[in-house]
């Protein structure tokens, strides 16, 4: 009595349940002979007497392997295969087709119509055993692959939901556009590259006509940079500034932030511009740390890039950041932005650049702030030729309106 010791179905890779084989043949003698052989080998066997009931059994039982005769009434072997391959639920099923020993052309047709492997009706018991085992092995591999793919898909879904949720939180930290204080109007555009990004900006009225505003950029992308940005933005709340810095002077703020937020193990850091706008005194004080995305457009149209060369936060704990003071007048517009906006590449890799951004802004003239912000984004998109920005893009425009407090 043959023992079928090589990789018996129940012992295959420690699987607890026997594997199932579906035998579809309208000829009963051959069918039960094959079924008996398969049972001896340890498989669970399902028999079907024709193509139609075979398909039903396949759908219902999802066997590891289907062995089917070529010639059958109504739905023959090749037609069975075609139907299986067209059904998204069944299409990865492993099918072993019976052929006549002396018709090799059958194999070409069988393959074309969807069979995976072939077995001659006149095959020896050894060949039958070998083909069946190889078919079941293939089916097991496919099943594992499908399970792994499904699990990845599920986990991906969970991750995406979590990122969505985190992205919503980050967006909730952004200031609402509009009149943020008497005499101050703000408009913004925010396009994180992966739905979640490391750029954050804010403008907060501190009372008495004084506002604090900043735009920070955490290096890197995605979740970790968003987390770091949220941490720095918490530090930059007025209460925390007064507690940890002792003042709202931009230079002092960055000097302290520099100590509190060192370079991470991965070499990640922040660039930032922090400004203090005093409407009554008509002053704008600011400090920058490695951040070049800031300019002032006077009501006259005069255009000044504000940044001074300065190390990004975290590069050197001993850095002292210096405050620069400017006077401002009604009609002046301050723009804080991330380099993701002016560093967009076109199809050949050429960057849009600060000069072209300046041209765009100046070209808008005295148009309303909302239009200018919208126009800048449009032009960047036009330059790169598509809507998806490769890097986080943030732009905050602040106008000191003609209304006097």
């Amino acid at each position: 009595m043959s023992s079928g010791s090589l990789a018996t179905p129940a012992g295959l890779a420690g699987l607890p349940t026997p594997q199932t084989v579906l035998v579809v043949d309208d000829e009963p003698t051959a069918r039960i002979a094959l079924a008996a052989r398969l049972k001896r080998l340890g498989y669970r066997v399902i028999e079907a007497v024709d193509g139609k009931s075979g398909l039903d059994a396949l759908r219902r039982e999802r066997p590891d392997l289907t062995i089917l005769d070529w010639m059958m009434p109504e739905i023959d072997g090749p037609s069975f295969c075609e139907r299986v391959r067209q059904d998204p639920e069944l299409l990865t099923s492993q099918i072993l087709m019976m052929t006549s020993h002396d018709e090799p052309e059958q194999i070409a047709e069988g393959l074309a119509r969807g069979a995976d492997d072939f077995l001659s009706k006149a095959a020896s018991k050894y060949e039958i055993t070998a083909r069946v085992q190889s078919g079941v092995r293939a089916a097991t591999l496919i099943r594992r692959l499908e399970d792994a793919t499904e699990e990845i898909r599920r986990k991906q879904e969970v991750l995406e939901r979590e990122i969505q949720s985190a992205a919503s939180y980050v967006e909730s930290l952004l200031p609402a556009p509009g009149i943020v204080a008497p005499g101050v109007q703000m408009v913004h555009a925010y396009r994180p590259s992966l739905g979640l990004g490391g750029d954050l900006f804010n403008i907060v009225s501190w009372g008495d006509g004084v506002l604090g505003l900043y735009l920070l950029d955490a290096s890197g992308h995605g979740v970790s940079s968003a987390l770091r940005s949220a941490a720095l933005s918490t530090f930059l709340r007025r209460g925390n500034l007064l507690r940890h810095v002792g003042s709202t002077d931009p230079g002092a703020i960055l000097t302290e932030a520099n100590k509190q937020f060192p370079l991470t193990e991965d070499g990640n850091y922040f660039t930032i511009i922090f400004a203090r706008l005093d409407i009554r005194a008509r002053t704008l004080s600011y400090a920058t740390a490695g951040h070049n995305g800031a300019f002032l457009q006077r009501s006259s149209g005069e255009f000044n890039w504000m940044a001074r060369p300065n190390l990004p936060l975290g590069f050197d704990a001993s850095t002292t950041y210096v405050t620069t003071d400017l006077t401002i007048a009604p009609g002046d517009r301050l723009y804080l932005l991330s380099d993701g906006l002016y560093e967009v590449p076109d199809s050949s890799g050429a960057l849009w650049g600060q000069d072209r951004l300046e041209e765009t802004i100046c070209g808008c003239g005295p148009r309303p702030l909302t239009e200018v912000v919208a126009r800048s984004i449009e032009e960047a998109i036009r330059w790169q030729g598509h809507e998806q920005f490769p890097d986080d893009v943030a732009l905050m425009g602040v106008e000191v309106t003609a209304a006097v407090v």
Partner: protein, 116 residues
């Protein structure tokens, strides 16, 4: 574009000739090369940036990291010949405060000795 790194020993230090982009994609390569040099006891690392086309924000962070690590082992880092766009990035970030920038190797070597 991938990055190539070649090591060349000089007086009291090592020059790393970099070719390509110093970016997020190439960070492991760069970190490995630098770590290798540092662990051999190098006191002065000179980064030759002449053939570096592009440095992204990750690359900038890497430079800062390397500089900090070398300081911890009583060494220092200098930069040699950054070109056009890369030079601009370096100066806007005020990198020379952290990593001195030189236009030729003799100056780089001399600079180190003066500081020592």
């Amino acid at each position: 574009m991938a990055m190539q790194v070649k090591e060349r020993p000089v007086l009291n230090g090592v020059v790393l000739e970099l070719t390509g982009d110093l970016t997020y994609a190439n960070r492991e390569q760069f970190k490995t090369a630098v770590e290798g040099v540092r662990q051999k006891g190098c006191r002065h690392l000179i980064l030759n940036m002449a053939e570096v086309r592009f440095v992204d924000s990750s690359g900038l962070g890497l430079l800062a990291l390397v500089s900090q690590n070398f300081k911890l082992s009583q060494g220092k880092v200098s930069m040699l010949k950054p070109q056009s766009y890369v030079r601009e990035i370096m100066s806007l970030a005020n990198i020379q405060k952290l990593i001195p920038v030189y236009d030729n190797e003799q100056d780089a070597l001399a600079g180190h000795q003066r500081a020592a």
